[in-house]
């Protein structure tokens, strides 16, 4: 991944009447990134994506795609971008292939010739002639991804790309994204609720809460901050809690499932901790260093209400 920014926003904002859906949003996506844009429902993810694509006008700030103003240099920018916004929508009285032919005509170039490959890549190779009104939600989602990739774009913006897909479909789309990023250097900007998928697919994430970016960085960097997390099972649990609370260099962390304790402790002192607990008469069944998952990080970050 290079450090060349492909997508940048600077204090981007959108107000609907008195309601500020997005405010002061500044993020950067570099070339080759698979960027996960995370946030709860109503956080401002889709509003941000709509602003980037020119569907709605920002009321503050600016955005740049490939260093260009997407409002003034709209055609130049959109020729290099593929996008899927929310639930995929198509003309129901046309087949999947006919819908893609419309998209291809708008894109120009070799897009029309890529239709068969695009359908194959998303697993619709044998359903291209079926009218979209007969498609399941998963098939429409796949067709939505196909149309986003049809123009062989440098930047692909996907809003909830695996919505409605079964586990096999989710795996296929993840592999498709990883393959394109690896082979063609395509940059992806994904918004998703599926934190596990984002953790597997993305190298960088941005977390938006109440319209503002609260965190941005590489996944490894963000989750690396959780070094020192330890999962404990000890009995009696109440006495174990009391004991751990009294140890100065150990911090109890909330949110552990019943029967388990989560603590923060220096990684080099785990053996010492284990010995002290045993000497205090506690039965230690498990003491395991943890790498926090993105879900745990996201929820523990206080983003969840």
């Amino acid at each position: 991944m290079s450090a060349e920014p492909v997508l940048q926003t600077h204090a981007l904002g959108k107000r609907f009447g008195r309601f500020e859906a997005v405010r002061d949003l500044s993020l950067t996506v570099n070339r080759g990134d698979v960027y996960g844009f995370l946030g709860l429902n109503g956080a401002g993810k889709t509003t941000t994506i709509r602003m980037l694509l020119g569907l709605i006008r920002p009321t503050a700030g600016s955005a740049a795609l490939f260093g260009l103003d997407p409002v003034r240099r709209r055609l130049e920018v959109l020729r290099r971008v593929g996008a899927l916004v929310e639930v995929p929508a198509f003309y129901p009285y046309l087949s999947g292939r006919q819908n893609l032919e419309i998209i291809a005509r708008l894109l120009g170039g070799d897009a029309r010739g890529r239709i068969p490959t695009a359908l194959e890549q998303v697993g619709l190779g044998d359903r291209g002639a079926t009218k979209v009104r007969a498609y399941s939600q998963g098939m429409r989602q796949r067709l939505g991804i196909a149309q986003a990739l049809l123009g062989d774009p440098e930047l692909v913006i996907l809003d909830e790309p695996v919505n409605g897909l079964d586990p096999q479909g989710i795996l296929e789309i993840r592999e498709l994204i990883q393959r394109r990023q690896r082979e063609r250097g395509t940059t992806f900007f994904l918004s998703s609720h599926l934190l596990y998928e984002v953790e597997l697919s993305c190298n960088r994430i941005g977390i938006i809460c109440d319209g503002t970016l609260v965190e941005e960085g590489s996944v490894a960097e963000l989750l690396g901050r959780t070094e020192g997390a330890v999962r404990l099972r000890a009995a009696p649990e109440a006495r174990a809690r009391e004991f751990l609370g009294a140890v100065g260099w150990v911090r109890l962390v909330d949110g552990a499932p019943p029967g388990t304790l989560h603590v923060q402790a220096p990684p080099g002192r785990l053996a010492e901790l284990n010995r002290k607990m045993v000497e205090a008469g506690l039965d230690v069944a498990e003491l395991a260093p943890q790498r926090m998952t993105l879900e745990e990080y996201f929820l523990g970050r206080g983003v969840a209400k």
Binding site: R50, L53, L55, L75, V81, E86, A89, F90, P92, L106
Partner: protein, 272 residues
Amino acid sequence: MIRRTLTLLAIELGKLRRQAFPLVCLLAIAAVTVATAWFTARDCRNGFDSLARCLQVAVPLAAIFLVALGALQFSSEASLGVLRLILPKPIHRGEWVLAKALCLCLAAALVLAVVAGVGAGAVQLLHGFAEIRDATFTDHVHRTREAMVQDFAIGVGLVLLPLVAAALFGFVVSTVIENSGVAVAVATVLYLVLTAAVSVGLHQAGPYHGVPAVFTSFLTWPIDAIDQFSRGVYTYKWKRPDILLSLVVPAAYAAAFATGAWVWFRRKDVLV
């Protein structure tokens, strides 16, 4: 820009011919035209009289159909959610507006051609077309067949721009209202109310039905003129000021509606 607009126009025409609604309505209007020819065959004195009656019935229906078709243009795209599929592609919104407006103009021309063609075909089969003779002094020819054909051509030609204006009236409503059913209902009702409200009796300053400042006034007077010619009555004449007004006023409204749609749609936030 021209190439992109023509590409969009080709896409719009392709979509139009694959939808059931326009085809069903066109067939219904054609059926009404034929039925009118059938039922008026006995009462009419000649084929031109019968054809005029067919047009008097079918042209207002065609106008209502075109208002509805116009009202579906962007509202159906919004209802389907397709705006968020198309607008992030490398096109300008203004080009899409222009392409849809051109598509509606072509649709109006097609509908009028179908009405006139089907009507003429049905009347030819049922009645045939002969010169207009006096009812009492049958040796006296009021108007030759060639002259009547020319009168029909002028009359039908004058109806085209009011039909285009009607379609674009619906079109501007479609850019404002995102629900397709509501857009069609509002546009149709507004159009009918406008037509009724400005029809303050016949024979105003000109032959038009109603206030000459409104495009709906120019829809049927050319057909009524032909109807009178076909019966040997010459209350109406093709006067240059009347013809000019019949061209300029609907054209101005059509341009205003198209411009309104363009202005509104260009700046609209697409939230659907």
